[in-house]
Amino acid sequence: MLAKRIIPCLDVRDGRVVKGTNFQGIRDVDSPLALAAFYNDSGADELVFYDITASAEGRRLFIGALREVASNVFIPLTVGGGINTLDDFDMALKNGADKVSVNSGAVKDPSLIGKAAKKYGDQCVVLSMDVKRVDGRFTVFVSGGRVNTGIDAVEWAKRGQEEGAGELVLNSIDTDGVKGGFDIEMLSAVGGKLSIPVIASGGAGKEEDFANLFEKAPCADAGLAASVFHFRQVDIKHLKQTLAARGVPVRL
């Protein structure tokens, strides 16, 4: 059986992993390599590196950190953050990424998905979506969840798949940071009819939330989270044992 995947996300600023509860509260937690090695040893199935820097110098440090991790940790690596052009894809893939995740860049230019899929293969292209309820409708937001595009999330997910995305990350703004569990309703509504793998993000606070996710949203192939893993509130090894005991297929 294909295993359900557990994916820690590392937000990287100026080459260091950070996790901010808000923009004022950003704190250094560890070096990317130290955290990546720790997660690899704990049984993480993939790692996501998200570049939250805006400067060229920050980008250079990010690429350096990526290369260092990719040279030492041999599980799939996804890079996201500031991906707007084919050159951005190229830079990430050349420096050790296996997949590249595009969010606002794809909303600005939807043809980027297809162009990247054609050049590097569908399996490299991850469409990441930040979704929020607006007047009862699942709506796509961009720019770190601050800007409402007015685009219907169900339609955008379908479009992304048609354009050639190989995987979809669905991040719920409504549950993100709240730690009250994944947004099962949104995941089922937006991800339920797709034929590409769906990665659920936003809301994980404890082991039970992951068990709930995989039991109640069969469309979810993976659960992604950041702070619960960084601050060791959830231990991946223990989580996977719990999931296995509940009949969820995982890689132990």
Binding site: F74, L93, G96, P197
Partner: protein, 201 residues
């Protein structure tokens, strides 16, 4: 020295790093002359079969790979590199492979509903017969797959399958020629152990 055949298909970064990690001497080769100095060959690859087969031919290394494999040099094909080992592929038409392993690359057929294509993620190996590159791992260990096509009509060469509603061909062996549909360079410790066993052949 292990030659990693670079014929312009896919990203060799992880593969080269993983060989470095296990302490194997390796070199990315782009010409037949460089390839001839190797005592083992890894044939990587991602993308479409026809394009890769053509690029391998244009690189001038296709014939050398065939001659060296025929002469007993251990050869490991990974992912699309494994598919190239077969007689032919039915991906977008019908295309000739290297013919080092009997069989045909075809879509994964008969998938029950709910099983997505590509087959992407970690799946467990089900050993079918002993294989020297598996000497440091065990039946049931997980490895990382990303593919939509796989080897068919190759029953006698299959060393492991993966269960995805139907059995998927995970690896093959024909004498000194090995193929893994999964990516050992992305399969954590299990993958490094497989590469180690290959490097020691």
């Amino acid at each position: 020295m292990i030659a990693v055949v670079d014929y312009g298909v896919g990203n060799l970064f992880s593969l080269v790093c993983s060989l470095g990690k296990i302490g194997a001497e390796s070199k990315v080769v782009t010409t037949a002359d460089e390839l001839k100095k190797a005592d083992k060959i890894i044939l990587p690859g991602v993308g479409a079969f026809a394009d890769a087969a053509e690029k391998l031919r244009l690189s001038g290394m296709r014939q050398t790979v065939l001659e060296m494999a025929g002469g007993g040099t251990p050869l490991l094909g990974i992912c699309l590199g494994m598919q190239l080992l077969f007689d032919k592929s039915l991906e977008y038409g019908e295309h000739c492979g290297l013919g080092l392993v009997s069989g045909v690359v075809d879509e994964i057929k008969g998938l029950p509903s709910g099983f997505k294509v590509p087959h992407m993620g970690w799946n467990a190996l089900r050993f079918k017969k002993p294989c020297p590159i598996y000497k440091y791992i065990k039946n049931g260990d997980y490895v990382y797959f990303v593919h939509s096509y796989h080897g068919t009509l190759c029953g006698k060469s299959v060393t492991a399958t993966a269960d995805y509603g139907v059995p998927v061909t995970a690896s093959v062996m024909e004498g000194n020629v090995f193929g893994t549909q999964f990516h050992p360079e992305k399969s954590g410790e299990t993958g490094l152990k497989i590469l180690t066993a290959f490097a020691e052949l």
